[in-house]
């Protein structure tokens, strides 16, 4: 029931945010309609960062308490985070091509986001390839490394890029934003957060079901073998 309520709220928020982004917010003077991709790009970025943060917390909790629920939460947030991070990396170049004239530039924020994406994809690959009951522990350890790495990545890449001439000036669109544009950004963010929460919920329930199934299988195997042992 709670799940349905969240689903309905998400749907309403997404619709209203679409209206906000596409019609209510004014047309940007120099960039034109293409600027509206910004309402999807930025909220996705914020959402994915929050997902990765939640993944870090869940991983620490897992290592401290050995609670499988924390592990299920960690998988869900990492997967959803990677999805939103992918949206960021796809919408970025789509916007950059007409506005900057190039698809990609190795500037600090882009590169950090790309590295972030790489780190969490490697986390998902580790989960996929690792065997046995050690998976949650190993994945949690990697998640902690990954999260601690992010500020170091950001520092290093910022320095790397300020040392060289910037190929493109990233016009600070964050600075002089029209209040109605802000409104559109925030509505979209709320909608995306609700959507992410919904996805995480579904994924979490799936992962819990898988864990319980595994446990039941193990117990049943013991039970069956016991039944056969009547000498």
């Amino acid at each position: 029931m709670k799940f349905r309520i969240l689903a309905v709220i998400t749907f309403l928020l997404l619709s209203y945010a679409l209206y906000q982004g596409m019609w209510a917010a004014p047309r940007e003077a120099t960039m034109g309609e293409i600027q509206r991709i910004f309402y999807y790009h930025v909220p996705s970025a914020w959402t994915s960062f929050l997902c990765f943060f939640a993944n870090f917390i869940a991983s620490v909790v897992y290592l401290a308490r050995r609670n499988l629920k924390a592990d299920a939460f960690a998988v869900s947030t990492a997967e959803v985070g990677v999805v939103f991070c992918t949206v960021v990396l796809v919408t970025g170049p789509l916007w950059a091509r007409p506005v900057w004239g190039i698809w990609w530039t190795w500037d600090a924020r882009l590169t950090t986001t790309l590295v972030l994406w790489l780190i969490y994809v490697s986390y998902l690959i580790l989960r996929r390839y690792s065997t046995g009951q050690a998976t949650p522990t190993l994945a949690a350890a990697l998640a902690i490394f990954g999260f601690i790495d992010v500020p170091i990545v950001y520092m290093s890449i910022r320095w790397w890029r300020t040392q060289h001439p910037q190929p493109v000036i990233a016009g600070g669109q964050g600075s002089g934003l029209d209040p109605r544009m802000w409104q559109a950004v925030l509505w979209n963010w709320a909608a995306f957060m609700a959507f992410a929460a919904l996805l995480i919920w579904v994924r979490y329930r799936l992962e819990r079901a898988r864990q319980e199934l595994d446990e039941a299988h193990a117990l049943r195997a013991v039970g069956q073998a016991e039944g056969s042992f009547t000498r």
Binding site: I119, T131, T137, A141, F145, D149, I152, M155, I157
Partner: protein
């Protein structure tokens, strides 16, 4: 504390002895890095001036790939005959195993670097414009950065299918800032345009932070079942 130092030393001694007898890791690393040197030279065909610009990248990519070979070997030795189990049932501190292994890998990779650097200099006609002694701290810090996280992740990949493939997949993304630091610092020394101070301090930060994290988490990973 004294037992940590003593057991670390005995682990290191054991790893050096085993490597000395089999020479598996060092031989494979040397030949591998040599191949990379030769192949890069075909691929880029640089002049002396160009090679000074790209040498930092070439050297470190070669050593990075070579290090993967050594890191994979290091734990394989403990899996044969399931010797690792004997360590796990003993009261010896887990971090002593980690430190011994990391120091061993560090020495092997440093040895390979020392042997191959002259070759790089010859093949690419390198001559450093900046003060060449600065390369020493860059190489020591950079190698430790690769080795400490690499040794830890190699222990993680022990529990995975196709573990030799797994190590680079999880190690490279995390190592990106360290790699950037090594490459930039080396290039700066070679071209002599700027001082590598920032990159050296970045490597110091990276080394300190991740050595700490490794020591905090290794026991958990060693006993993960």
């Amino acid at each position: 504390m004294s037992s940590l130092a003593a057991v670390t030393a005995s682990n290191l001694r054991k790893d050096l002895r085993l490597e000395w007898r089999s020479k598996d890791a060092v031989n494979a690393m040397l030949f591998f890095a040599l191949l990379v040197v030769v192949i890069f030279s075909f691929a880029f065909d640089p002049t002396a001036e160009e090679s000074r610009q790209i040498a930092g990248g070439l050297v470190w990519v070669a050593f990075l790939f070579a290090a993967i070979v050594a890191l994979n070997q290091a734990w394989m030795r403990e899996l044969r005959n399931q010797v690792l189990d004997a360590y796990r049932v003993s009261p010896a501190p887990a971090n002593a195993l980690f430190l011994g292994k990391a120091l061993g890998n560090f020495l092997f990779i440093c040895a390979v670097e020392a042997l191959l650097m002259p070759l790089f200099v010859v093949f690419y006609n390198l001559r450093s414009v900046g003060p060449a002694w600065q390369l020493v701290p860059v190489f020591l810090l950079g190698t430790w950065a690769l080795v400490v996280v690499g040794t830890f992740f190699a222990a993680i990949s022990l529990h995975t299918r196709s573990r030799e493939v797994m190590l680079p997949l999880i190690l490279f993304p995390i190592s990106i800032p360290a790699l950037l630091g090594m490459v930039e610092a080396t290039t700066m020394v070679l071209t002599g345009i700027e001082t590598p101070a920032f990159w050296i301090s970045l490597l110091v930060v990276y080394d300190v932070v991740f050595t700490t994290v490794c020591l905090l988490l290794f026991e958990t990973v060693l006993h993960a079942e």
